[in-house]
């Protein structure tokens, strides 16, 4: 059953909050990779929230890519979303170490994505 807009909104905001908390944490070091990953999941839920407004639910990454093109039609959003996605994959699967610049870029990307979707606070 497709998730509702509100569910995606809650999850997106929750993930963004967690990413911020992780990034500010002084008790846990070297977790930039998780910050990157959680920012990506926030972006994913923002995208799905927008799609849910049109009663569209993406079943996988390929569908989501196509849905962004077909139903959101924003090149800027696509570029920023894909960059987040690939960095999060590097973080999870490649033992890649994200630096502070990457965290800043991810945060910036998320803001651009929200703006493109009309979800800026």
């Amino acid at each position: 059953m497709p998730l509702e807009q509100q569910q995606h909104k809650s999850k997106a905001e929750e993930n963004e909050f967690i990413a911020g908390e992780l990034n500010e944490s002084v008790e846990i070091d070297d977790i930039n990779e998780w910050v990157v990953t959680v920012y990506f999941y926030s972006a994913l839920h923002h995208v799905e929230r927008k799609l849910a407004q049109q009663n569209i639910d993406s079943g996988n990454h390929v569908e989501r890519n196509r849905n962004i093109k077909d139903h959101i039609s924003s090149r800027s959003l696509y570029l920023n979303y894909k960059e987040l996605k690939d960095w999060s994959e590097q973080a999870r699967y490649d033992c890649w170490e994200a630096d502070d610049d990457h965290v800043t870029w991810c945060k910036d990307n998320l803001e651009i994505i929200k703006s493109e979707l009309g979800f800026s606070s």
Binding site: V62, R66, D70, E83, E89, Q90
Partner: protein
């Protein structure tokens, strides 16, 4: 899904494909009559041709993902370069526009070796940008 590393592949040589050589768009005549090329095959070769032309791309590694029925490409960069990343994503976005129905999944990674990707040997093909440029 086999996108070949055809170094002769040239966008200006679309004879018999139904693709207009000037615009690289599918001609209206072809759409209404005998559009016989494998649309997906062409789209993948079109994609590879553009990505390989990017100097900073060192290798492209492909596998067929049987679970989702798509081709996946790992596009490798030697070092982080956001401009190049975004160029690649932009090519992908254009392809979605030009060839609606193209099904692929790309991963742009900073890596100098394909060995860490855990896939079956018989499913992999490796494309060398250096080899491509030498053609």
């Amino acid at each position: 899904m086999s996108a070949t590393n055809n170094k002769e592949f040239n966008l200006s040589n679309n004879e018999g494909t139904g693709i207009d050589s000037e615009t690289n768009q599918i001609s209206s005549e072809s759409q209404s009559t005998s559009f016989e090329i494998d649309r997906a095959q062409f789209a993948h070769e079109f994609f590879l041709n553009q990505i390989m032309a990017i100097e900073e791309v060192t290798q492209i590694y492909q596998r067929f993902n049987p679970y989702e029925g798509i081709a996946e490409y790992w596009i490798m960069l030697e070092r982080e370069n956001r401009d190049v990343r975004r160029n690649i994503y932009s090519v992908e976005y254009d392809l979605l526009d030009r060839f609606g129905g193209l099904e692929l999944l790309t991963h742009v990674v900073v890596r100098d070796d394909v060995g860490d990707i855990n896939i079956a040997d018989d499913a992999k093909e490796v494309y060398s940008n250096l080899e491509f440029n030498a053609a």
